[in-house]
């Protein structure tokens, strides 16, 4: 201010507030009284009011370069791209320990048993990358269904799957074939290999399933060794595999640090048929497991759309439980 009277100087912020229309009533009254007596401040107030008017005009004036159309179009495409990469995840308790569930715009993109060393949040970050957002709400519905499945109250997880994280086209084909295995059934690694048209690739199939990004959702626990041994699951968690199979009604026996299914106590489907059989029907007992799918119960076989074999009649002669 050009006039340095202490009273005027003290009142100056209020004067500005009056000019901008932001003054409290008491301050406005004070300024009104003051400018009636003080000519320089009156002049000052007039200046600031004039500036308010000019600033208002400036605000309304057209702004050079103010056309957002192109920028908006580019923004939309960048947002779409980011959305495809964005992943939301939650970490949930489960009977199997803490589980991470992540989903993208396309579907569930990662299911993971946690419980290594270090914080689960940093493990999640490492698995999912920087674009991951912790947001339990997004995978919450998936989690609710997962819990129902683990409690034996749900036999299907019809989740949209995002398999862009698959390591190769081969792995994707393995995962697709595995996703077809019905609840309560088991097949062998060699059987999956046959199904994807690579009958010699049992080992690569096992490797591909070892890196299954979506355990449970893609039921790799339903894929076992040719001998009937469970072989492996999520690293060294073969006991989890046994547990998941037990939930689905597939009984196993402990066998030298592993578990194995009892082929002779399960119903069998010769792949390609539409009828399920007793394990002793025709030549089934001598067929390699790669040609079969095994079911823990008739109920499960029939839920998979299969009819009882008209020769061995599993419906009339069920296996003793």
């Amino acid at each position: 201010m050009s006039h340095p009277h202490p009273v005027c100087r003290e009142l100056e912020p209020d004067l500005l507030a009056v000019a901008t229309g932001e003054a409290a009533p008491a301050a406005a009254e004070r300024i009104e009284g003051h400018v009636a007596r003080c000519r320089p401040c009156r002049e000052e107030l007039r200046h600031y009011r004039a500036i308010e008017g000019l600033v208002g005009a400036l605000r309304r004036a057209p702004l050079p370069g103010d056309d957002a159309t192109l920028a908006r179009a580019e923004l939309e495409s960048r947002l779409a791209d980011l959305r495809r990469r964005l992943v939301s995840f939650g970490i949930f308790p489960s009977p199997l320990g803490p589980m991470l569930i992540a989903r993208s715009e396309l579907g569930v993109s990662l299911v993971r048993y946690l419980g290594g060393t270090g914080s689960v949040a940093s493990e999640a970050r490492r698995l999912l990358g920087e674009e991951a957002i912790e947001d339990r709400a997004a995978p919450e519905a998936l989690y609710a269904e997962l819990v129902e499945y683990l409690e034996g109250r749900r036999t299907r997880l019809d989740w949209p799957l995002d398999l862009r994280g698959a390591r190769s086209d081969f792995q994707r084909r393995v995962l697709d074939a595995t996703a077809q295995l019905p609840y309560g059934a088991v097949a062998s690694y060699a059987g999956i290999a046959r199904r994807i048209g690579a009958p010699a690739a049992a080992r690569p199939v096992a490797q591909a399933l070892r890196w299954n990004p979506l355990p449970i959702a893609i039921p790799c626990h339903r894929v076992i060794g040719s001998s009937g041994a469970l072989v492996g699951y999520a690293g060294k968690r073969v006991a989890l595999k046994q547990r998941l199979l037990a939930i689905e009604g597939v009984r196993t026996l402990p066998a030298r640090g592993d578990f194995r299914v009892r082929r002779e106590a399960m119903y069998a489907l010769h792949v390609g048929d539409s009828e399920y059989c007793l394990p002793t029907c025709g030549s089934l007992a001598s067929r390699p497991l790669s040609e079969l799918m095994l079911f823990g119960s008739r109920e499960r076989a029939e839920a998979a759309g299969l009819a009882p074999c008209t020769t061995c009649r599993p419906d009339l002669h069920p296996l003793s439980a």
Partner: protein, 179 residues
């Protein structure tokens, strides 16, 4: 699903605020290219953080805060570049001296206001633009600049004082008959 709903909501956020946020950044940077880039980055960041925004939050003020932060980083980077390449820095005193005197045209006054604003320290310029061009309240401005409501107001008032000084001679002195 919840996720899809969140995205639809974000579509609406973009629709409602993109043009204004770009205008804000354009006013601050005075370059359409910078306005495109910084407004785009504002919304990309917003999308990442959108779901952690509490329900009922003031989305517009939140977007201004993100944009403000990006503008400040932008100017910081620019200052570094200037220093690095020893490019000619904007000499404001020279600019001030070059202003024509004694003209009372409103257009001229407006142009001068724009020049004064362009020469303000970044925080004052941001606060002034948010308050006077976009009507944000001081609480939102303070949140954007990570300062108190009172400091936000002080930045705006300081800007007005400088405009007042910059306009000396452009606003005609009224001869008063009244005491």
């Amino acid at each position: 699903m919840a996720r899809v709903m969140a995205e639809d909501a974000f579509e609406a956020v973009v629709g409602a605020h993109h043009a204004e946020i770009r205008r804000y950044v354009l006013r601050i940077t005075a370059r359409a290219g910078d306005a495109d880039d910084l407004s785009q980055e504002t919304f990309l960041r917003a999308l990442r953080a959108h779901r952690s925004l509490p329900p009922g939050a003031n989305v517009r003020a939140w977007l201004f805060a993100i944009a403000t932060n990006l503008c400040r980083n932008h100017f910081r980077a620019q200052t570094r570049r200037r220093r690095t390449y020893a490019a000619a820095a904007l000499d404001r005193s020279e600019m001030d001296a070059a202003w024509p005197e004694g003209e009372v045209l409103a257009g001229e006054a407006r142009a001068r206001i724009e020049r004064v604003v362009a020469g303000l320290p970044v925080k004052q310029r941001l606060a002034f633009t948010m308050r006077k061009m976009h009507d944000l309240d001081y609480g939102a401005i303070g949140a954007s600049l990570q300062c108190s409501e009172e400091s936000a107001r002080a930045h705006v008032f300081q800007a007005l004082r400088k405009i007042r000084r910059g306009l000396d001679g452009l606003i005609p002195v009224r001869t008063e008959s009244q005491p």
